[in-house]
Symmetry: C2
Subunit: 372 residues, 2 copies
């Protein structure tokens, strides 16, 4: 689907929604007439949430479904959210436009998918050699990150919030060993965001495919390599059938934030209690999501290694050092050409410096000396 076709698609979807009844349009509500009026509003809202994930996809899709359920329960049915998998309502990477225009009221995704529209969005998902899950949450929730994120999404008529985290990721699936950076040359690899630009610098060709198409692309040789998430997800995707070497560490995504954003008008038209319900459900999903990844990854790592003969490999120091240098260059380039990226990255890197100082006597020491 090219740009023009996509725009048509969105227009049609938007028109269809409008034709389908005002109740489904962003922020428009259908008062339940059958109920006696009370002091408290009983206005109900029906929202659509599009996602970047296949329908009911483990953890990511599941958490979107659970969020909708929690919101419905807490609001006693006053806010109903219908969750759509990628391509069920709009294509996987059309969530931003769809919610911006009110085709849907919400999107569950990862913000680096919108790098083409807002380069600074990448800093709210994953930065190569950046911060892990605990640190990203601390920056966004306790270090001023959310305010900048809101500022960034304002022109798109969107309100963003964190809704999950994948935790530290794996480096990806390859069919040859990566002994030097030279081994990345010519490689067509699925890798989004800033990590993709780093692979580009290393002479590879980064490709952005939605999750639903990844396995087929890898199996058919449309791509030579792919990163995705971690052992649990990667096992379910079946990558071990199409690639042999499984690399760590995931230098490009140390703790990828899953985002939830709402159409700003729709969100602001919600009464205060429903706004708080949405924000609180998002936070519950945040801790649930990370806990699921953290509890399942090792089980599936063992399956991959013991049942499917996957070869676990660690990137050599030389490779990581070069990728770190490239990452710095990539970030510098983004920051030089985009004032908002500069502003966001200044906050990001000041916070990283701060939190890394603390980790020297805390988490780093935990992993090195306490948890053996």
């Amino acid at each position: 689907m090219d740009k023009l076709e996509r725009r048509d698609f969105l227009k049609k979807a938007s028109a269809a929604t409008l034709a389908g009844g005002a109740a489904l349009v962003a922020g428009c509500a259908s008062p339940k007439q059958q109920e006696a009026p009370t002091v408290r509003s009983t206005r109900t809202y029906e929202w659509k949430m599009v996602t970047t994930w296949p329908p009911h996809f483990p953890i990511l899709g599941e958490s979107a479904d659970m969020l909708a359920q929690w919101v419905e329960e807490m609001s006693r049915g006053r806010l109903k959210i219908h969750v759509y998998g990628a391509n069920e309502l709009v294509p996987a990477f059309e969530g931003l436009e769809a919610v911006s225009q009110g085709v849907a009221q919400m999107c569950h995704s990862a913000s680096y998918y919108w790098a083409g529209k807002a380069p600074a969005s990448q800093f709210f998902a994953a930065v190569p050699f950046g911060m892990n899950a605990q640190q990203m949450n601390a920056w966004i929730l306790g270090g001023g990150g959310l305010k900048l994120w809101e500022e960034l999404y304002m022109p798109f008529n969107l309100v963003p919030m964190p809704v999950g985290n994948t935790g530290f990721q794996m480096g990806g699936w390859f069919n040859k060993e990566i002994n030097t950076v030279g081994d990345l040359k010519g490689l067509k690899m699925r890798i989004p965001g800033l990590g993709g630009k780093v692979i580009d610098k290393a002479g590879g060709s980064p490709v952005l495919s939605p999750g639903g198409e990844l396995y087929t692309n890898l199996e058919r040789g449309v791509i030579d390599a792919t990163e995705w998430v971690g052992p649990y997800h990667d096992y379910l995707m079946g990558f071990y059938k199409a690639a042999r070497y499984y690399y760590y560490p995931g230098w490009h995504e140390p703790g990828t934030v899953i985002e939830l954003f709402a159409n700003k008008n729709a969100f602001e038209q919600l009464p205060k209690d429903l706004q708080t319900i949405v924000r609180t459900a998002a936070a519950r999903s945040n801790v649930w999501t990370l806990s699921e990844f953290e509890s399942k990854n090792n089980i599936y790592m063992n399956k991959l290694i013991n049942e499917h003969n996957v070869q676990l490999r660690q990137f050599p120091d030389e490779v990581l050092q070069t990728l770190r240098k490239f990452s710095q260059e990539v970030v510098d380039e983004v920051v030089e050409t985009d004032p908002m990226s500069k502003k966001v990255f200044e906050s990001f890197s000041a916070f990283r410096k701060n939190v890394t100082g603390w980790s020297q006597v805390s988490e780093k020491v935990y992993y090195a000396r306490i948890s053996l």
Copy 2:
């Protein structure tokens, strides 16, 4: 206050509450008669939450206040929670009895304070050389921990849930250097839970003081040393005025879970939407709390070192190795004498093994090779 006095106190508090009106008793509700009846119940509930922390204490007390606010907002005033600091309604360490008996409907605390009543409770707060915040959440929420915790609290008529985490803690404040385990001999140190038993094994005298009394005890020499939380809290407590050496790592509390528990009858009498609101608010508080500690600790660590000449010290390997051995012995003793502790620790240690396997290719590598 001795045991008998405490029991009297609780009885009186309970009687006072009963006399004060049925609306304040666990689970009893006052239907709002001024509202027209609707399909949805408009019954309101007024709850009391006791805490182990000084009133409005930074992060811990603040998060209890915020939780009450979120619950009130989300429920549109149908569940109002009044938060009491330690000793405002019942003494700091009487929360379990108070909520069990319905003097209050909720308590915000840390479960190792109830070790005398339920030894296994310690495993849901902090285990020396155990799991950190991310891993504890994963065990409790994604690894079966919560079910065991509920089973443990059932005989007390309580429903527990995680509501926060302090993150990795510091080793504590001392007025002499700790170069060998022998330096711990004879030391009166405030340290709760299993860590306290380890200090006992090392020849020290563990003391359990509530936060509100700690500084005075340290300053007056009632105790020689204390651990508390981390740089942010420890700075606010003023410990740097009474002790010179600040040690890391906090081997005894790698990621202490803050707990919320409710009187079981009261909780079960809440309609489903209010139950979900409480659980969801607790999860939001969980991620908020850890993010606050993570974002503030380094700032205050710098203040302690640069403005107050605090001497930062690392426990030598030999000390940690001996404390690790003692910790294993302490856990073995608890597990041998208490079947529920055995059951809980089996789950805990199986999960720790699992998650530590994953950390070898993820967080451990992140701190060692990515975040420099």
